[in-house]
């Protein structure tokens, strides 16, 4: 097994083009578990931890955060809780401090697990994933098209994930996850909600309840229409209970869960409707009670 250590982004892309069979290695919190516990050996490891560009984030001209693939959960929590509250909430639930110090959002996208905790908040805000190759340069993949199957994503063999391009929050966001304890759990199911007070649009993301992370399209459409129709964004009044209930039902219906060791499909569907109801209540309370500016 070879160990490739590119010192810059262009060098990394050149190495990946040469060796499409090289397995990228970021924080190692997925890759090393596999190396330690199974006999599977990739032909080569491509260590991405020495590439400065990957470790940083920046604000783009149109108010998006370009989050380098090698930014850790720890950085998201410490540095981006205001701009990306949903992602920061999800990051706080990942593993333990030691895992958050090392694990990256890029690694979560690379692993593409249906249970990846960064995925629901990225879906809820309509993030785009920037991927690059030596020969074809960069392209942006909408997050809805990024996950192609269980632990599979849309990367070509010669491509690497460069960054996630994420709209900054323009309204309350929430993330909630069900597990057997508060820390160190893979989600039984998870849910993210993003309210955009500017466009008056609702975004969602569901984790661990389908072969890939998904959005609850119907639920988004329903709530967006109701909030606009009843002029609730302007009136800043509490949500009718019937609206919350219908939203929760639609979220549960969007899921396609399975029975596994962590929970049954029936339980997951039920739990999702509870998460949807709670997160919507929290987010809307924050919106109308604090009178958060729509600008």
């Amino acid at each position: 097994m070879e160990f490739l250590t590119p010192m810059g982004w262009d060098e990394a892309l050149a190495m990946k083009a040469d060796r499409p069979d090289a397995l990228p290695l970021a924080g190692g919190t997925d890759v090393m578990v596999e190396l330690n516990l199974t006999a599977h050996r990739p032909a080569a490891l491509l260590d991405l931890t020495r590439i400065p560009e990957l470790r940083t984030w920046s604000t783009t001209a149109n108010e998006h955060i370009r989050l380098g693939a090698g930014v850790t959960y720890r950085q998201v929590i410490d540095e981006l809780a205001d701009q990306l509250p949903g992602l920061a909430m999800a990051a706080r639930t990942v593993g333990s401090p030691q895992i958050r110090n090392r694990g990256t959002v890029g690694g979560n996208l690379g692993a593409a697990s249906p249970a990846g905790d960064s995925h629901p908040p990225l879906l809820a805000v309509g993030a785009q994933i920037e991927v690059s190759s030596k020969t074809r340069g960069s392209r942006l993949i909408p997050i809805d098209e990024f996950f192609t199957g269980v632990k599979r994503n849309a990367l070509a063999p010669d491509e690497l994930i460069a960054a996630a391009v994420i709209p900054t929050a323009r309204g309350p966001q929430q993330f909630s996850k069900i597990g057997t304890r508060n820390a160190m759990v893979i989600a039984v199911c998870s849910f993210a909600l993003a309210l955009d007070a500017h466009t008056e649009v609702v975004g969602t993301g569901i984790g661990s309840a389908a072969p890939t992370p998904i959005r609850a399209d119907e639920a988004e459409r329903y709530l967006t229409e109701v909030l606009q129709g009843l002029r609730l964004w302007r009136r800043r009044s509490p949500l009718p209970e019937s609206v919350v209930r219908r939203f929760a039902e639609l979220v549960a219906e969007a899921a396609a869960p399975i029975d596994d060791v962590r929970g049954t499909a029936v339980y997951r569907r039920h739990a999702l409707s509870v998460l949807a109801r709670r997160t919507l209540t929290w987010a809307w309370d924050e919106y109308w009670a604090t009178g958060q500016s729509a600008a």
Partner: protein, 157 residues
Amino acid sequence: MRITCTVNGQARELDDVWEGESLLYVLRERMGLPGSKNACEQGECGSCTVYLDGETVCSCLVAAGQADGREIRTVEGLSDGERLHPIQQAFVETGAVQCGFCTPGLLVQIEDLLRRTPDPTDLEIREALAGNLCRCTGYEQILEAVRLAAGRIRSTA
């Protein structure tokens, strides 16, 4: 491959390291530093916790090649010669050590906590130690040790 790094302030150089082995293996089997423990090799137990460039990590999840050129601090670097670190002393006094397997990882993780948060609440302690499992003590004595050490470190700071 050859690995050069700094461990507990000392420059170390090793040859013929297999690139896929973990930093934990390198520390224990190649450098004779068995303080960091190997209990799960999957990031779940925290008994292998060390500092890597100033941040605590599970050394079982760091590839040897990733540690090249980096600065590592292990539990062996905590005491001042024969003089125990205040956290170690507090562990002894409160009975926070039973079999001792979890202790090295806890000591490193607690030192990191107290450097950032000198007067942590119980919730902050629990969150900081969520990735360190102990099969013996039931954690109460460990919490007690953290409170005791935190008080002593604050009063000497």
